[in-house]
């Protein structure tokens, strides 16, 4: 997993509440055998016209938000089915940070498994950030996970909470697999002992 570094990026505004995982990736795209490439389908039904062209009325199609890595959005983001395709699509599209007042539980957990930082703010702060983006489209925010802070040109700076172990794993780029591999020496020892005690388990068929 990619380590989460301090960055200054364009913040895109999606001012909608209760965006569910079915809207994030509609279900016709779930039958793929890969997990990459879902960015092309992110918000598909909102993002494209019936003929496949970009729907220019959709917020994220605003040219000012091109290259945005921060998504500022409404309450209860990521509700609905538990599919991990939703964070896969968000990350693949290019976002690594979401700012909202609340998230669905499974979606929130899945974000951390995919190098995405979901920041929780109070509704007052969210409103201020939304206003700043609306007034200055294409504005960049600076996100510093180590310091647990976000700063903006409009001085809507704030600090946020994140569980220490999650912060640590994001900063170090440690996924669950990497965490288990911290004990690689012990795994190797276990295997060496097994090879001696039960050599038949290690033979070719």
């Amino acid at each position: 997993m990619q380590a989460y570094e301090k960055h200054s990026s364009i913040a895109a505004l999606l001012n909608r509440n209760n965006v569910d995982t079915d809207q994030i990736v509609p279900k016709q795209f779930l039958k793929k055998v890969q997990r990459n490439g879902f960015g092309a389908h992110l918000f598909h039904d909102w993002r494209f016209n019936a003929d496949g062209s970009d729907d220019l009325t959709f917020e994220l199609n605003n040219p000012a938000f091109k290259g945005a890595r921060i998504l500022v959005t409404g309450d209860n983001f990521g509700c609905g089915s538990s599919r991990e395709h939703a964070p896969w699509a968000i990350a693949d599209y290019g976002f690594n940070t979401i700012i909202s007042t609340s998230y669905a539980d499974i979606f929130f957990n899945n974000c951390f498994k995919n190098s995405i930082l979901p920041i929780i703010v109070d509704s007052h702060t969210l409103l201020a950030l939304m206003e700043e983006i609306a007034e200055n489209e294409g504005v960049a925010f600076e996100v510093d996970l180590d310091n647990q802070s976000v700063s903006t040109p409009g001085k809507n700076d704030f600090r946020f909470e994140v569980e220490p172990y999650r912060k640590h794993n994001l900063l170090e780029g440690l996924d669950d697999i990497a965490l288990s591999l911290v004990h690689a020496d012990k795994i190797t020892t276990f295997e060496q002992e097994q090879k001696i005690a039960q050599p038949w388990l290690w033979r070719d068929a």
């Binding site: 039958k31 991990e84 012990k186 795994i187 295997e191 068929a205």
Partner: protein, 463 residues
């Protein structure tokens, strides 16, 4: 201190333990099929990781494969893609795959024991809930999700929390017409589909010990339908006899040292379980499910219950909606329910013993008018064995279709499916809404009961 079998296997596989964290458990065997693995392989590749122990893996193609016209390309493009992806992934990582042309091909939980790939005291995982099947050998076997499949490939371990232990004792002798399937359904009927949640079940008692290895697999297979993480049966002479001479079994001196470990695995005298449940085998009549959950089950002599016969409000409501979906009236006698379909197969009841017991009933009968009956061996080896015994003739002469192996109508992913409203006597393990096709109605039964229902066009008491 006296330990349970579960605790012994757990302790023997602990790689790392730290207070307040999940323990890291070593995985000896990793079973795979085409549906739950593609994103795991992709994740592995994206992170530039390798399969840590390819010797631990055995893979097959089963969920999406057609059970007839095997020489034709797979019609469903998604099934075809999953199969092709699996073949490519296994080739790339040097994994042992029983592909569709391989004489060892079949349903994962059928083929793995056929080759002696699972031994007592192992930790076994698969991206599939019916992995519990292998508990029949005294192995701790459980299903995992796709991200865990990747985790096991990369690390050969899994972070795990310890389960509670439940002992299910089935005492006395089973009647000749009742089977392991009926024991499983009777247990689920008693404790409910959530009764085993958080537990690993050890099955014991005279009726369990008397089961063949095939029967033990059927019983452990359905532990998951009782909500349990895994089912376990203590290994004994039957287990060792079954394993002797199999492709992946140890030989010579290795066999002796393996036996030393295997024989140390059964629960110690006086080991304590968190819960003990007891059933009397003689009370277990052939079972038939009437609803859309395996716990909605009664004896063949009984009738479909009425919603108000349940004290529990949730169960009463569940009964009401199940009857609606199943198109059944309360108080209908089970033996008055007509069927459109019969299916013998799946990892629950797709072994040679299952076809023998069904053939005994089917011999000389004719499938009732309007009923379609399909027999789907769990593997090519089962198919071949059955054909050597002439069982295929029995089924074909009775009007059954005799197919190639696969999961088939157990989950209807390969094109074998019920049409809206059709009713099936099925030897599989799940009667959930839509499991055998959208709007399809499933009644879970033993193979002999399915064969009898096919001939009569309705459920019958085979005793």
């Amino acid at each position: 201190m006296a330990k349970t079998m579960y605790e012994k296997i757990w302790d023997a596989h602990l790689v790392h333990e730290q207070a307040g964290q999940a323990a890291l458990l070593y995985v000896d065997r990793h079973l795979m099929h085409e549906v739950t693995s593609p994103q795991a392989f992709e994740g592995l590749d994206l992170a530039n990781r390798q399969v840590r122990n390819r010797h631990s893996i055995l893979a097959t193609l089963d969920h999406c494969v057609p059970t007839r016209d095997r020489d034709q390309p797979i019609a469903d493009p998604i099934g075809k893609l999953q199969v092709e992806t699996m073949i490519a992934n296994c080739a790339k990582h040097g994994l042992n795959l029983y592909d569709m042309e391989n004489p060892n091909n079949g349903v994962i939980h059928i083929v793995v024991p056929e080759h002696g790939f699972v031994h007592p005291g192992m930790v076994v995982v698969c991206g599939d809930s019916h992995t519990a099947t292998h508990g029949a050998f005294g192995a701790l076997a459980f299903g995992i999700g796709t991200s865990e499949v990747e985790h096991v490939m990369a690390t050969q371990t899994l972070p795990q929390k310890k389960s509670k232990t439940m002992l299910v004792k089935v005492d006395g002798e089973l009647s000749e017409f009742s089977t392991a399937k009926d024991i499983a359904l009777a247990i689920i009927g008693k404790i409910g589909t959530a009764g085993g949640t958080g537990y690993v079940i050890e099955f014991a008692g005279e009726a369990v010990v008397n089961l063949s290895m095939e029967g033990r697999m059927t019983l452990c297979n359905m532990a998951i339908e009782a909500g349990a993480r895994a089912g376990l049966i203590a290994p004994d002479t039957k287990t060792y006899d079954f394993l002797r001479g199999k492709e992946f079994s140890p030989e010579g001196q290795d066999w002796d040292s393996a036996m030393a470990y295997w024989q140390s695995i059964p629960s110690d005298e006086g080991a304590e379980f968190d819960i003990t449940i007891e059933l009397a085998a003689r009370d277990i009549a052939p079972q038939v499910t009437w609803g859309t959950s395996p716990e909605q089950v009664v004896s063949v002599t009984a009738a479909v219950p009425a919603p108000d016969s349940f004290q529990d409000k949730i169960k009463s409501q569940a009964c009401k909606s199940a009857l609606e979906y199943m198109g059944l009236e309360a108080n209908t006698k089970i033996t008055d329910i007509n069927i459109d379909y019969a299916f013998i197969g799946s990892c629950t009841n797709g072994r040679i013993e299952d076809f023998r017991s069904a053939a005994k009933v089917a011999r000389g009968t004719t499938v009732a008018a309007g009923v379609t009956a399909i027999a789907v061996p769990g593997s090519y080896h089962v198919k071949k064995q059955a054909e050597e015994e002439g069982l295929d003739r029995v089924f074909i002469e009775a009007g059954w279709e005799w197919r190639d192996p696969g999961c088939s109508m157990c989950l209807a992913m390969n094109g074998d499916e019920l049409k809206e409203g059709q009713r099936c006597a099925s030897t599989s393990n799940r009667n959930f809404e839509g499991r055998q096709g959208k709007g399809g109605r499933t009644h879970l039964v033993s193979p002999a009961m399915a064969a009898a229902a096919a001939a009569a066009g309705r459920f019958v008491d085979i005793r």
